[in-house]
């Protein structure tokens, strides 16, 4: 059922709209005056100057490496599954596939693609990731001359993501397992 919203009835001056126009021009004039005589610019020279985003801003998702420079992603494909616009596409390594750069993790994506044109910056991928391998970084501007350029591959995502030190659970497990190879087991 349609809901009728009661709107405030405009008086004569408000219906003229002139006071509102004058009010807007006053703001413009104030900024012009400040820029010319006060030396305070209110606009930004965009490509040279960039807006610094507040902390917690959800920018583009990138892959990160751990403190040893190894890929954190183990290709569990949860982000691919949870991604609402289906922007993420992972190619699992397969049986004979790529050997992961971490000894114990067994698995690493053969290819990891994020289509930045589809991404809606919701942050679900970061939230779902059990390996803390993907983070929404501060980047908010993507420039490309065609669509294919804006599908970022694993290499690009890793180089953009940088390092994010973490608990390194696979390395920890491996160390624990190696320690147990000698008896008596030290705990």
């Amino acid at each position: 059922m349609a809901i009728t919203v009661n709107r405030k009835k405009l008086n004569f001056w408000e219906r003229l709209y002139l006071p509102a126009v004058v009010g807007g021009l006053k703001v413009t004039g104030r900024h012009l005056f400040r820029t010319l005589f006060g030396g305070k610019a209110v606009t930004m020279e965009y490509p040279e100057q960039k807006w610094t985003v507040p902390t917690g801003y959800r920018g583009a998702p990138y892959l990160v490496k751990d403190q040893d420079g190894d890929t954190k992603c183990v290709s569990c494909q949860l982000c691919e599954f949870v991604c609402p616009p289906k922007a993420i596409r992972i190619t699992p390594p397969g049986t004979s596939g790529l050997k992961p750069d971490r000894d114990n993790a067994e698995k690493m994506p053969l290819e990891f693609e994020i289509n930045m044109l589809r991404c809606i910056y919701c942050g679900f991928c970061q939230e779902v990731c059990p390996e803390e391998a993907i983070f929404l970084k501060q980047d908010w501007s993507h420039v490309g001359t065609n669509r294919a350029e804006l599908i970022y591959n694993k290499e690009k995502l890793l180089s953009l993501g940088g390092a994010a030190p973490g608990i390194q659970k696979w390395k920890h497990k491996l160390e624990e397992a190696r320690a147990q190879e000698n008896f008596p087991v030290k705990v």
Binding site: V74, S75, C76, Q77, L78, E80, F81, P92, P93, G94, T95, G97, A105, E106, K107, P130, E131, K173, E176, A177, A179, Q180, V185, V187
Partner: protein
């Protein structure tokens, strides 16, 4: 066929006495005896009664098709029995109902037989606590590597942890580490850390596959599943252990790290590697097939399938698939090619056409071909494929639909006896048009260099006189196939067909089980399901119209072919219907 694999040959079950038990306060009647894994009637157990009552009892080691061992303790339930007085008579409550004496200790539901009047409690606080305790104990040394585990998504440990487990671990000590990525055999990988020692794999391979290859070695928390040193786990049924493994301990090398289970679309289908026709699920994603898994069908394959059949899917996505309609080597379109072909067939005098159909085609397709055959007065046959049978599931007949070809009248009881006649007919110039479906007839026998995945288990073993030189004598050679081969290269008309995973239809198994299968993936390029273009061709040549849906076509065939009378597509269900062959 052992009794374990099928219930088809069993006589009608004798009337079994029913007993009344109460499950969570709800009274149900259950048979006193139930067939166990080997088909023998044994007293019904609590877990079977709970299943009948649709009450979930979590379990790891219990599997309805395997012997009961009762070692995982996950199915612990509380129960009570009618109390007996000193006079051995049931004690009654004031309201006349029997007084129930609750047992002081729980029992494992999988191995405790029922008795009349028993009450089972599956939702009491004590049962909840026991389940939590068992899960906690199972998870003590579990590596929790779900992100890299292939079983994730279909893992009972995950499911029960969510349903019955605790949210946090109390275990602070170092976990016991066991071998990972152990090569158990050519198709199986073991991760001993993930194993919960339910011994389902041991029981399967010992009692179903009759190859006592697996066992548990070491002591205490170092218990590990293992083969005998130097003896790989290699029989034709090893991959079933991956299916029965409730966790990710045993994984298939073929499927390892290929795709996460939750992405796979599961399509009900039928295995085409031999005449047994095991019910399967095709796991596919985005038009790519990743795996076959057996589907429960007590009349055919119980819950199992052979490794050879399971891994025989790669030919579907092979590079040399036929994708274009070719008329004398030139790319053409379906309407153009079919119209030209129909005109040619309509003009062909009786007896000048021969048809070699394939027993890998569906009942509907073979039936449409038989209509064409009747109209053209053609001689027809099919190519037999024979291999080795085993005692469990594998049939010697490697064609999935030999009986379909017989019942629709494409070939005689003995397949392949007309091939020489066709060869002679071509030689003498009597046969001018040859229509071939899905068979590479120019190939003689099998030579090793020509063996490809598809042929490795489905060998064309007969020798017949249809040489390439002889085929060149034909006025018109029409070939419909899936892959490019010698025969399609010689053909004047090449009609690209579909694999069973790309179309719908039915097969009649070696035992006369008519089973339907569904479409899992799209066919590549212009390839079209054979029944679709055969329908057009039959319409053009005979003038008879038919149904354009597979349901209608099947029902029409059931009305016209005596062997299938009374069947309908809908009535076939998921597991099929057995017909007299």
């Amino acid at each position: 066929m052992s009794t374990a694999a099928t219930t088809e040959t069993k006589p009608a079950a004798p009337a079994i006495e029913k007993i009344k038990v109460k499950i969570d306060g709800r009274e149900i009647e259950v048979p006193r005896l139930t067939a166990d894994w080997s088909g023998k009637l044994t007293p019904t157990t609590m877990i079977q009664a709970c299943e009948l009552a649709k009450t979930d009892v979590p379990h790891y080691c219990y599997h309805p098709k395997l012997p009961v061992v009762g070692n995982c303790r996950m199915c612990l339930v509380e129960y009570g029995m009618p109390a007996l007085g000193p006079d051995r008579k049931p004690v009654m409550n004031a309201d006349g109902t029997p007084k129930i004496a609750k047992m002081p200790r729980p029992a494992i539901a999988c191995a405790t037989p029922l008795s009349p009047g028993m009450e089972i409690y599956t939702k009491t606080p004590a049962v909840k606590q026991m389940r939590e305790g068992v899960l906690e104990s199972l998870l003590i040394n579990h590596p929790l590597d779900c992100p890299i585990c292939d079983q994730a998504g279909e893992c009972k440990l995950q499911e029960y942890s969510v349903d019955y487990g605790q949210s946090a671990s109390r275990f602070v000590e170092a976990k016991v580490h066991k071998p990972k990525a152990v090569d158990l055999g050519p198709r199986i990988m073991l991760d001993a850390e993930r194993c919960i020692l339910c011994t389902r794999c041991i029981r399967f391979t010992r009692d179903i596959a009759k190859d006592d290859a697996l066992g548990i070695i070491n002591r205490g928390s170092y218990n590990t599943i293992s083969t005998y040193p130097g003896m790989p786990f290699d029989n034709n049924y090893t991959l079933n252990t991956v299916d029965v493994c409730p966790v990710g301990a045993l994984t298939s090398k073929d499927f390892r790290f290929q795709m996460r289970a939750w992405f796979l679309k599961e399509t009900k289908s039928v295995c085409t590697s031999c005449a047994t026709g095991c019910s399967i699920l095709i796991g596919s994603r985005e038009e790519k097939i990743y795996r076959y898994t057996p589907r429960d069908n007590d009349a055919v394959n119980a819950s199992w399938m052979c490794d050879a059949g399971r891994l025989n899917y790669k030919w579907i996505s092979r590079e040399d698939r036929l994708k274009d309609v070719l008329v004398r080597g030139q790319k053409s379109t379906w309407p153009a090619a079919l119209n030209e072909l129909s005109d040619k067939l309509k003009k062909a005098p009786a007896g000048s056409v021969a048809i070699i159909a394939s027993a890998r085609q569906t009942n509907e397709e073979l039936w449409l071909i038989s209509k064409l055959k009747a109209k053209l007065g053609a001689i027809s046959d099919s190519i037999p494929r024979v291999g080795e049978a085993d005692k469990l599931l594998v049939s010697a007949d490697k064609n999935p639909n030999t009986n379909g070809a017989r019942l629709t009248g494409i070939c005689f009881t003995e397949m392949g006896i007309n091939l020489q006649k066709i060869a002679d007919g071509i030689e003498q110039g009597k046969i001018k048009v040859l229509i071939v479906f899905g068979e590479n007839i120019a190939k003689h026998g099998v030579s090793n260099d020509r063996l490809r995945e598809r042929e490795t288990i489905s060998e064309v073993v007969d020798e017949h006189g249809l040489t390439p030189a002889l085929l060149a004598k034909l006025e018109t050679l029409v070939v419909s196939d899936i892959h490019a081969n010698e025969t399609t290269r010689l053909a004047h008309y090449v009609l690209p067909g579909c694999a069973h995973a790309e179309k719908r239809g039915t097969f009649t198994s070696g035992k006369g089980r008519v089973q339907k299968f569904m479409k899992a993936v799209e066919a590549p390029g212009d390839a079209r399901a054979e029944w679709e273009f055969l329908h057009d061709l039959v319409h053009n040549v005979t003038g008879q119209n038919g149904f354009v849906t597979i349901e209608g076509l099947f029902n029409q065939m059931a009305r016209e072919v005596p062997a299938f009378s009374g069947l309908t597509w809908a009535a076939l269900g998921d597991t099929g219907v057995t017909v007299q062959i």
